[in-house]
Amino acid sequence: MRKRIGLLLYVLGGLLLSFAGGRYGVGMARADQARQAWDAAEGRAVVALARSAALHHGMRETPVDGAPVARLVIPRLDLDEIVLEGVDGDELNAEPGHLTGSAYPGEPGNAVISAHRDRHFNHLDALDLGDTIVTESGTHHDRWVVVAKRVVGKDDHALFRTPDATLTLTTCWPIRYLGPAPERLIITAKPIRAKQTRVASAS
């Protein structure tokens, strides 16, 4: 009887570990695909088309969920990741996600990028006021400076539209915590210098 229970627990534990490892593996594979797509300039074209379509047609067209839409570089955290459209489980399992409906980095408005606290933003709490962030999105290449860092409740209304370009990074808080987190860490940054270039010259 004891051996049967032990065998059952052994198999169950193995399955759980395999599932978690498989999800991490799938996320890494999708991250590689996103990086390749971005390097092929497809992601930049997606964002350029979306921005231009929004400007010309007066309605919002966005890339489909999972499409690479930006590149996020945080030198202090040694972070260099491709941002995918959407903040659902599949996107966040692979890369940081861009909140659909928010602005794209560099364009007027609040651009919101979120990521798992145990993955890409696992050291986001180390980011301090004055640190710099670099983003590439479509035709924009921007440098940002962190101007605010706050912790809010998970149900607090913390994201707002802004008239000027703003970059907001969010993750769950506390960083070292198992299970659904009760709070959110929110980092706000403002552009240092906005340099608009064409896709062709950027690539």
């Binding site: 627990l9 599932f19 997606v46 231009s52 010309h56 489909v64 659909t100 145990d118 809010v152 198992l178």
Partner: protein, 147 residues
């Protein structure tokens, strides 16, 4: 009277007359270069006339539209992009969707970014370890019973 000088004289007078008769029936070939120039000039004049006509019509239509309060339709974004940068792929190769939320909702909550994977991995490792422990102790107990 020597007839040889008379013959030479008649030839001198008669041969040019015969040659002149031939030249009267000569049809000179058309000057192709001159024709192509004429055609080009004519085409250019025609094109200029058409363009100016179109311009007048466009201006007239714009004036009528503006008088009627109709706003001219802007050029399609994809067309302008294609003009700007031919390296950008065509729209059908890019996956786009219409978003329900036009802009970020004011006062939106921060997305839930909690992942269950660390918890699952921890529980899995603990379960695996416990199972291995039970299997190991079960084997030792059997060995003692056999002894």
């Amino acid at each position: 009277m020597p007839y040889r000088p008379l013959l030479v004289l008649s030839l001198i007078v008669g041969l040019p007359a015969a040659a002149a008769a031939q030249f009267t029936t000569f049809i000179p070939p058309q000057n192709k270069a001159a024709d192509s120039v004429k055609v080009a000039v004519a085409a250019q004049k025609s094109a200029q006339a058409d363009t100016s006509l179109n311009t007048r019509l466009t201006n007239l239509k714009t004036w009528v539209d503006s008088a009627a309060g109709v706003v001219a339709t802007p050029r399609a974004a994809q067309d302008s992009l294609a003009v700007m940068n031919p390296a950008i792929p065509a729209s059908d190769s890019v996956s786009m969707k219409l978003s329900d939320t036009a802009t970020l909702r004011n006062g939106a909550r921060a997305p839930a970014t909690a992942s269950d994977l660390p918890l699952l991995a921890l529980v899995g490792a603990a379960t695996l370890g416990l199972g291995a422990l039970l299997l190991g102790t079960g084997g030792k107990q059997r060995m003692r019973t056999d002894a």
